[in-house]
């Protein structure tokens, strides 16, 4: 079964949001457009919209990520949905109850939308295949496979500052191998017509056959960010440092840390994105993080708007097809 079929109904409307893979440019643009009005909501005094009154959204996190969960929760609440937060640690589920049983149990509580985060690649697809037909699934990160809402908020941010994707040179720096975020970003950037997507990192942190993902590969930072319009930094997980893949954070910073000096290689008006949480002194120095080229704080608020857009789109599709 191709993932695109699973995500879309017969009229190309989103019923699940699992991956960028297989989605056309129009669908991505529709998501970005739908998020636009929601960015204004946060400026108003009454922040709630009555769009999803009476629906139940369940944050099903098998892999803790408090900030991400908060972002989804705020998005759901702004749409007036009821929110159920479930942190499930894996040993408990694999020991006693299968993932399918957990799902059936929660479905019985009349959940309309599951936001799923799971350490296994493909988990969101698996859940989408097994939920009742009227229920939506949004992937909030499945292993190293995909993190499509994060990628879409990054696209939203880029569009805000650069307007068009055509003509842009985007450089992604860091641990692509273990990053669903990077895979989703690469797919989204290419689908939206970005002129050149580059990835930069040590070979130990890049997947085999990286080029087949549709990117140019660089192992040297300055060379890679040369003339870049957008730089996206990836988070370096603690467990990757001091391993067989990497000697440590300091060495990483020496080779791939973004500093004001190195930033000279990029375009004057370059913007810098980071999915957070940042490791200052590893992925970038504080001057860059807090400097004029950073749009990292804006990403967080755009994240809520994008998630509001995707939640309302998927639930709307399911309500229309369900009836």
């Amino acid at each position: 079964m191709h993932s695109a079929n699973l995500q879309l109904n017969g009229e190309d409307k989103l019923k699940h949001f699992l991956t960028i893979d297989g989605l056309k440019r129009e669908v991505l643009t529709r998501i970005l457009d739908a998020a636009e009005p929601f960015t204004e909501e946060s400026q108003r005094t009454v922040k709630k919209l009555p769009l999803l009154t009476g629906t139940v959204i369940c944050n099903l996190f098998f892999d803790t990520s408090p900030r991400l969960q908060a972002s989804f929760e705020v998005a759901a609440k702004r749409l007036s949905a009821d929110v159920l937060n479930l942190d499930i640690n894996i040993p408990a589920t694999s020991g006693d109850e299968t993932l399918l049983d957990t799902l059936r149990n929660l479905e019985a509580m009349h959940v309309d939308l599951f936001v799923v985060r799971h350490p296994d690649s493909g988990a969101a697809h698996f859940i989408a295949r097994h939920v009742a037909p009227h229920v939506s699934v949004i992937n909030a990160g499945d292993g190293h496979h995909a993190h499509p809402t994060q990628a879409m908020l990054d696209m939203f941010t880029i569009r805000r500052y650069k307007e068009e994707f055509v003509g842009l040179r985007v450089a992604i720096i860091g641990d692509v191998l273990h990053s669903g975020v990077a895979r989703s970003q690469i797919l989204a950037l290419n689908t939206l017509g970005t002129s050149e997507v580059r990835v930069i990192g040590p070979p130990t942190l890049l997947p085999t056959d990286t080029r087949t993902l549709g990117v140019h590969v660089f192992h040297d930072l300055e060379e890679g960010i040369d003339d870049a319009d957008v730089i996206i930094l990836l988070r370096l997980q603690k467990e990757r440092m001091n391993s067989a893949l990497l000697p440590g954070g300091q060495e990483y910073f020496r080779l791939y840390g973004l500093t004001g000096e190195r930033l000279q290689a990029a375009k004057q008006n370059v913007i810098i994105l980071h999915p957070g949480p940042m490791n200052r002194g590893v992925e970038l120095d504080s001057k860059v993080a807090d400097g004029p080229r950073s749009v990292i704080p804006q990403q967080v608020s755009f994240g809520i708007a994008i998630r509001m857009a995707i939640m309302s789109m998927t639930i709307e599709t399911q309500q229309v097809t369900g009836k």
Binding site: L99, A146, T212
Partner: protein, 429 residues
Amino acid sequence: MTTPRNLRIANGRLIDPANGIDETCDLYVTDGRIHAVGEPHAGFKPDLTINAEERIVCPGLVDLSARPREPGLEHKGTLRSESRAAAKGGITTFCCPPDTDPVIDTPAMAMLVRERTDGIGLARLLPLGALTQGLEGNRLSELAALQQAGCVALSNGEYPLANTRVERGVLEYASTLGMTVMLRPEDHHLRNNGCVHEGPIGSRLGLPGIPGAAETVAVARDLALAEYTGCRIHFRGLSTATSVPMLTQAHTQRLPVSADVAAHQLHLTEMDIEGFNSQCHVNPPLRSLLDRDTLRHGVSQGVIGAICSDHQPHEPDSKEAPFPSTQPGISALETLLPLTLKLVEERILTLSQAIARLTCGPADILGLPYGRLSIGSSADICIFDPEANWQLTARDLVSAGHNTPFLGWEFTGRVTHTLLEGRIVYDAG
């Protein structure tokens, strides 16, 4: 089951690669043994005649690796259910890896599985003894005792020996007993937590990969130790292109080394995992098209002497989870012959080669007297209709495990009768 004393299998096309026979003639069986080919001895009166007109009559298939799951994992399969599946697939002899629960590391366990299977009487099970106690890779099992209890070879199951000193020890010890050691060529550390081939598809899906080098490194290491110890080794389940020339080289050096490949590795590739298809989660993983084609070439050249089922039945729950959390393996006894015949259709193998890789090929690897229709040998016979077209459905499967990526595939060639020691153990009717 019918047990005729004198049996005539009439007018079939007899293909017995071990004896260089490929002709239309009768086959005669007396008291469970091959009595004559072509003309019977004077006074032979058949109690039963099987009309094999337009059928192929060949030796019963010999499978170097099939897991019946009993004892220990009866919710996945039992000796009875999987013996039935073997008989339906034309397989009369199969080797059972030692990773049962408890492990086959004692003579008592080896005898238990053999006797239980003999009692059922639908297929012949040959146990593989555990190389190390509990398959833990540290201490040798009582290999001589295992041999006496009927273990035809030794293996550490799916747990490759990580310690080369232990490996050297087991090979030296086994060589004095004249036993073959089956090795899963896989470097434990390079495998890490991988579940798919490390390649473009795995990279895109973000699934942890197992590099082809995990096999190359192990093959090189095992060959070096085989040469050093003089032990006869067999590579169980090759998956990469690079292994094939290494094996050819070893044959040139006259090292006592052999290899097999699972039938699914000759048909599927990494592309089949697309959409997180857990039915294609196997170990070793499905690799690239080049790997598949080189393995096919290796089989046709005879460098890889046997095709096996690598049968691993599962209950549905084992495959109902996100891909990395599913269990690897395919329920494969009933597709071993059809998948191999597909290689004949695709002109990779001649019919005689195909049958050889399923009969005398695997039997010779372990020095077994099966997989041939020599006069006096056990009347283990497979009769199939080479023209029958059929589609695999879950309802067809008699194995307890319905986990197969081949549901819906169309095949040509289907078993009509299977005989074990002259007894009809399967009759399609």
